[in-house]
């Protein structure tokens, strides 16, 4: 069972308290109704599914109930960092080369 740091509670808590909510930084268009079929396809269906670093959304379901973002390595399953919803993708990741 993983430990996940909730950036709102500022505490590491067991995985059981959290729920994954899919890939992060996929913005919903401000003009949703006017999106082309291609753009909607990219927004709704296409996910990066990387081998390595992924930015994803989690919810501290059984804690503060806040959604937040996390950087996780899909190979080692290690959380590299977590940050609040709405904050930009971190430019530097602690302990990760390149």
């Amino acid at each position: 069972m993983l430990l996940i740091r909730c950036p709102y509670c500022e505490e590491e808590r067991p995985e059981l308290e959290f729920r994954n909510a899919g890939e992060a930084h996929i913005a919903r268009s401000a003009n949703m109704a006017g999106e082309s079929d291609d753009d909607f396809e990219k927004f709704f269906f296409i996910r990066s599914n990387p081998k390595g670093i992924i930015h994803e959304r989690w919810r501290h379901m059984h804690g503060c109930a806040r959604f937040f973002n996390a950087v996780r390595d899909t190979v080692t399953d290690k959380f590299i960092m977590t940050y609040k919803a709405g904050e930009p993708k971190p430019s530097k990741l602690p302990g990760v080369a390149k």
Partner: protein
């Protein structure tokens, strides 16, 4: 006297405490502190089981958790019957009853042993090759036969009457393994004041000090030192000591699962004791001190009862006071077996000969053996064991060939060397490294905050192990607590080793006489009956990866997970492939280290505690009325209320008619309810629902549809606007949590600029639906402060006031098509208000109705149930709900998805009504619909029935269905092919009763 092979002068058990036990019905005497294995051996019993595949007689190989052979059934009573218990681990108690397994009719005469003679047909890959064809024979013939013939032990057929417990724990340093190294590491860590947990699988701490007669620490016998050190640790406030506790799984971030066997060793466990306790420990640092496991020699018929590991024989002697034979032979490729021979010889047991595969080894143990007059042979191999139910001889030959000599023996002690137990390290995702010099895999690259010490780290010798462990324990404590309390130095002193034994090296793979040119049965994996020949055959048949060899031969795949066999198997595969061992690689170690009971994992989460049961405030009333309940998610809901003599059909018909002619009361408390509050509440509702909300006046209600972004219906419900900034939203019963999650997601991440608060109020309000022409007459006398006239409280409106003196949110709404109300009251008053309404209802002939009648009544009106009439691929248009989509809205969740080409294409499945041509026939929900029933099979299916009921109010059956292009088929005849014939149906509108809706004000 507790057995003819007990040596009173040897061992640590008190001879006074006798314990009687039985094996296969025969009664024996043992001593408290024995394991079942040591007690059997004390009585001269070596034959304890039959092997898995060939039914070969098997004895006791080891004295610990690695045991592959001595698996028995322990039976306390009819329900407490545990198969596959390792006799080497089971502690003896007075009255213990054990049975051998996998034999019929008896252990010494077993019909299944014919498999041994027929063994050429059971070679590696047998299952894969033999049972490929015909497919049908698998179910009827092969599988049942194989299962009956090849099982090891029989599972109990009654529910487990024992209880189990579960605990979470946190610590700074978790030490796994309580041998000399583990105890030293725990001492060093504990002396700094940090929180320490020390766990060991045995009843007593000490590990190999149990048998190492030559070890002396701090001026004492090694085992005595360990007992003293552990007693000191146990007395410290910051230390928890767990014996009989196996760390079975090492998971992410130093999360370790352990099972503590609390009462399996007790004669009569009190019911206050759990049988086992699951520990889930999160440790800042883990010290792995799991020791090493001795390997057997791979030679012909090395599985005969009486042939065992040298270290095990030494344990039986030095700890339990049991001689494993009267005339023993020794076969070894390293020094450690000499110590066993020396100890046995000193205890008065004849040692017939030591056979050493090495050419010219030297050292003090060899000198000592010689000095004791033991015959020592170098450069020789045991090529064969004699005897069947018990070993009777060993045949010795120079390892490069030559004359044979057969030596009579009643036991053979063997040692091919020691394999570091890297199981937990490997489970932690650490990478092992092969040490070419010592021919063993040791911890290489670490993936977690842990450290290996002592024998499991490949460290040889007691002194070096203790030094390493003490330093590692102190460092782990420092690293673990630095951020909280600052580092402290250990206050104690490092244990000093005065005398120790040391051995290393040995050999891997098949010994001479069991080489590639032979066809003998030299067992590598005893539990799965895998021989050296099987492994070579697997390689010859094209299995070049060790993972393939393992699966093809099943080497290492039994419940012992190859603790004694993996390295031999790997070496034989590598030799056959002509590759060095590290290039062939080691198979992955997986949890559990030893088998874990389902009971320990499940703990209290069984029966009524498996899943929480949710009951409404009105539940006790419904129960008292004799309601039949159905499960809806975790809720118990009243399904129908049968009167004396009524079946379900009659009850539902009566309830449905009562609602339409008089009135009905229905417990709707399970409806999901969410309060949406804030200055931007209406804006938020506009975005989350398809409907327009800004202009809905306070006091009015609207039926809302929620979509996902893909444009499909996600949920629905009536929403009341209580105030400009306050909406009372209802959801489906099952949908409440996901709708709340969906709303929170959008509020927090997509629309965080909106000033809105969401609160789940499902449990806060009990909801009593009062429906029917008499509904207002029933409610009105109990209501204060609300004008109940149609003008003041029209259909689809909501008012706040009081009922029976308690606050209410009174909705005028209908899920039946009748004049109706839903009375929301604080849940604590739910039953009292229900009872008041019920009393009032009795004056008007009202009935209580359940979920079944509710379903029928809504279907008569064509009201859909999301999740029954929709399935996640239905748009509002498909469901005939276009009217509920705000045409002028610029945005809402699902607005774009709904417009995707496929979702607006012609020919989509649409919800319609179906009437069977024969009004008495009720369709089956889920039944498929076709245009032409005479077409060839497989037929083209154009839709399916989603809801179907007998409607007493309509005097006929009614149904809803999703049908391709359904709304263009009004009046058409379609067909529903069923096993008993084709049902003819007519496509109709969805409203079967009161099409004009006049009854809403009736």
């Amino acid at each position: 006297m507790s057995g003819a092979f007990r040596i009173p002068s040897a061992g640590r058990l008190s001879q006074a405490k006798t314990a009687r036990f039985s094996f296969d019905g025969q009664s024996y005497a043992g001593i408290e502190g024995d394991t079942l294995a040591s007690a059997l051996l004390a009585n001269g019993v070596h034959l304890v089981g039959r092997s898995f595949k060939y039914h070969r007689p098997r004895g006791i190989l080891s004295a610990g958790a690695e045991e592959p052979n001595a698996l028995v059934e322990i039976k306390r009573d009819a329900a407490r019957k545990t198969p596959n218990v390792r006799a080497t681990v089971q502690e003896l108690y007075d009255g213990l009853a054990a049975q051998s397994q996998n034999r019929w009719p008896s252990l010494s005469f077993d019909v299944g042993a014919v498999n041994d003679i027929a063994s050429p047909f059971f070679s590696a890959g047998f299952y894969y090759k033999t049972f490929m064809w015909p497919k049908a024979a698998w179910k009827s013939l092969y599988e049942p036969k194989i299962r009956a013939a090849a099982g090891l032990g029989v599972s109990p057929d009654q529910p487990d009457p024992d209880h189990y417990s579960s605990r979470y724990a946190h610590c700074d340093v978790l030490v796994l393994g309580g041998g000399a190294a583990g105890v030293a590491a725990a001492l060093a860590a504990a002396e700094t004041g940090v929180r320490v947990i020390l766990a060991d699988e045995q009843a007593e701490f000490g590990g190999s000090l149990r048998f190492e007669s030559g070890a002396r620490i701090d001026g004492q016998d090694g085992f005595a030192w360990a007992q003293g050190a552990v007693a000191k640790l146990a007395a410290m406030d910051n230390v928890r000591v767990l014996s009989r506790t196996t760390a079975f799984g090492y998971y992410a971030q130093n999360f370790v699962g352990l099972v503590e066997r609390v009462s399996d060793h007790l004669k009569a466990p009190g019911h206050d004791l759990p049988r086992e306790r699951l520990w889930q420990v999160r440790a800042r640092r883990v010290v792995l001190a799991s020791g090493a496991i001795e390997r057997h020699m791979v030679f012909a018929d090395n599985d005969r009862p009486g042939i065992m590991l040298a270290g095990a024989a030494r344990t039986y002697l030095n700890h339990y006071g049991v001689a494993v034979g009267k005339n023993v032979g020794v076969y070894t490729a390293n020094d450690s077996a000499y110590a066993a021979a020396i100890d046995l010889k000193k205890a008065g047991v004849n040692v017939a000969a030591i056979v050493d595969l090495r050419d010219n080894p030297t050292g003090p143990v060899i000198d000592e053996a010689r000095a004791l007059g033991i015959e020592v042979n170098f450069g020789r191999a045991v090529v064969r064991a004699g005897g069947k139910l018990r070993v009777s001889s060993m045949t010795v030959q120079p390892k490069n060939g030559g004359g044979e000599r057969t030596i009579p023996v009643d036991a053979i002690l063997m040692s091919a060397g020691w394999t570091p137990s890297v199981h937990l390290f490997s489970q932690s995702r650490g990478k092992v490294a092969f040490n070419d010099e010592t021919k063993r895999f040791v911890p290489g690259t670490y993936a977690q905050d842990c450290v290996s010490v002592g024998a499991c780290n490949g460290t040889d010798g007691l002194s070096a192990s203790l030094d390493e462990a003490y330093a590692a324990g102190a460092k782990a404590a420092r690293d673990a607590n630095a951020r909280d309390y600052g580092a402290k130095a250990a206050k104690g002193t490092k244990p000093k080793v005065d005398a120790s034994e040391s051995w290393s090296r040995g050999m891997l793979g098949a010994a001479p006489g069991a080489g590639p040119d032979t066809t003998v049965k030299a067992f590598v994996d005893f539990q799965n009956d895998v021989t050296a020949k099987d492994i070579r055959q697997a390689v010859h048949e094209g299995m070049h990866s060790i993972e393939h060899v393992k699966r093809f031969t099943t080497n290492g795949m039994a419940t012992d997970q190859g603790k004694t066999s993996n390295m031999h198997g790997l070496a034989i595969a590598a030799e056959t492939l002509g590759k060095p061992i590290p290039e062939v690689g080691l198979t992955t170690f997986r949890a559990p280290y030893t088998p874990v009971t389902f009971g320990a994992i499940v703990s209290h989460a069984r029966g009524p505690l498996f899943d929480p049961t949710r009951r409404t405030a009105i539940h006790p009333w419904a129960e008292a009325q004799g309601a039949v309940f159905e499960d809806v998610g975790q809720w118990k809901r009243a399904w129908y209320f049968p009167k004396t003599g009524e079946d379900m059909h009659a009850a539902v018909d009566r309830e449905c008619v009562a609602v339409r002619t008089k009135a009905g009361l229905f417990d709707a408390s399970t409806l999901g309810k969410i309060e949406v509050v804030g200055p931007d509440a209406a804006k938020f509702m506009e975005l989350l629902y398809t409907n327009p909300w800004e202009k809905l006046e306070p006091g009015r209600c609207r039926y809302g549809i929620m979509l996902r972004e893909d444009g499909f219906i996600y949920d629905d419900g009536v929403v009341g606007r209580l105030a400009p900034d306050r909406f009372h939203v209802t959801t489906t019963t099952g949908g409440a949590p996901r709708v709340m999650n969906h709303m929170e997601d959008y509020l927090q991440t997509e629309f965080p600029h909106l000033n809105v608060w969401l609160t789940s109020i499902t449990e806060q309000w009990a909801v009593i639906a009062v429906q029917g022409p008499k509904s207002r007459d029933i409610i009105a006398p109990l209501v204060e402060g609300i004008d109940m006239s149609d003008e003041a409280l029209p259909h689809m409106s909501v008012r706040e006031g009081k009922i029976c003196g308690v606050p209410t949110r009174l909705f005028r709404m209908s899920f039946t098509g009748e004049r109706g109300f839903e009375v929301n009251v604080p849940a604590d008053y739910g039953q009292a208000v229900w009872e008041a309404l019920w009393a009032e209802g009795q004056k008007h002939g009202a009935a209580a109705y359940g979920t079944e009648a509710m379903h029928v009544l809504r279907a008569e009106k064509g009201y859909i149930i999301v999740g029954q009439d929709t399935d996640g691929t239905v748009t509002p248009n498909d469901a005939g709900l276009d009217w509920a989509v705000g045409k002028k809205k610029a945005d809402f969740v699902g607005i774009r998805g709904m417009a995707r080409p496929d979702l607006v294409a012609k020919g989509r499945k649409q919800l319609v009504g179906l009437k069977t041509k024969d009004p008495k026939v009720v369709l089956e929900e889920g039944a498929q619909i076709v245009e032409d029933p005479k077409q060839a099979i497989p037929m083209k299916m154009i839709g399916h029935v989603t809801s179907s009921y007998w409607s007493q109010n309509c005097g006929r059956s009614i149904a809803l269905a999703l049908v391709a292009g359904g709304r263009d088929r009004m009046g058409d005849t379609l067909y529903v092919p069923m096993p008993n014939g084709v049902v003819e149906v007519e496509v109709t509108g969805m409203v079967f009763f009161d099409e004009t809706g006049g009854r809403l004000n009736g």
